[in-house]
């Protein structure tokens, strides 16, 4: 028992993370929808309004976290679905890294966008 260094096996960790992110997303996605469709209606959206929200540090970090968790949750979900359908071997490795690459692109692009609003010059 004690000699198990990695306390969490891959399967356990991913499974648990998928649930934890789901729990988090549940709250944030609800908030997101509420804010952007019910409080502010779709036809009122403009750069400045987004920008105004994004300049608040808490909102900014919440959105970045939202992006990270959603990306993980979604991509990991897709990966699981494929693996469950019997994806294995080299194909599986290929798919895995493609998904990782796509996630990185998504996250980078997302953060750049957020920065653009927040006025952080890193984009």
């Amino acid at each position: 028992m004690a000699q198990r260094y990695s306390s969490f096996q891959q399967g356990t960790r991913m499974w648990l993370l998928q649930r934890i992110t789901a729990g988090f997303l549940l709250v944030v996605l609800a908030f997101h929808f509420f804010l952007l469709h019910f409080v502010h209606h779709a036809d009122e959206v403009s750069f400045l309004m987004s920008s105004g929200r994004m300049e608040t540090m808490s909102y900014y970090s919440l959105m970045v976290l939202f992006l990270l968790t959603a990306t993980f949750h979604g991509v990991n979900g897709v990966y699981n679905a494929l693996v469950n359908q019997g994806l294995s071997g080299t194909k599986r490795t290929a798919v895995k890294w493609t998904l990782v690459a796509a996630s990185v692109v998504l996250i980078v692009q997302g953060i750049r966008t957020a920065n653009a609003w927040a006025g952080i010059p890193l984009y």
């Binding site: 609800a30 036809d43 400045l48 991509v75």
Partner: protein
């Protein structure tokens, strides 16, 4: 388990008719999950127009003539987009509700009424979607 040939070809058995709640839930959850991640990519792509927009003059921004605002406004002006958005809402709401159901199942809560909670998710999704149509369509005409 593998199968030596496709037995489905011999006769269409409309097997899905026999699917039980849990199976439908699984299929819908998959479908909605994929739609959501697909949308996430699209969403970020659209929002990225904010990057060039941020270089625009304040006046331009105030007038809403920047790339970002223009993109959004023109998109939101399309009825199709509005309808798709309602669909997206439905998909998201179902995924959230059923996701909650799955989280409960993972915790071992309410396994006996897993079918009822699936039907509840469906009904609630429908209700929420219908109720939010006015909000979503607002200003589209």
């Amino acid at each position: 388990m593998s199968q030596s040939y496709n037995r489905g070809l011999i006769e269409d058995f409309s097997r899905w008719r026999e699917f039980e709640a849990g199976m439908w839930a699984w299929i819908f959850h998959k479908f909605t999950g994929w739609v959501l991640i697909g949308y996430l990519f699209t969403h970020i792509a659209v929002l990225s127009t904010a990057i060039p927009a941020s270089g625009a003059e304040t006046a331009v921004l105030q007038a809403g003539n920047d790339v970002y605002t223009q993109t959004i406004v023109s998109l939101e002006g399309l009825l199709l987009v509005r309808i798709l958005e309602v669909g997206l809402l439905a998909v998201a709401v179902f995924h959230m509700l059923n996701g909650t159901r799955l989280l409960l199942v993972d915790l071992g809560i309410g396994l006996d009424s897993q079918d009822k909670s699936f039907y509840a998710s469906l009904i609630l999704t429908g209700a929420i979607t219908v109720a939010s149509v006015p909000t979503f369509i607002a200003g589209a005409f």
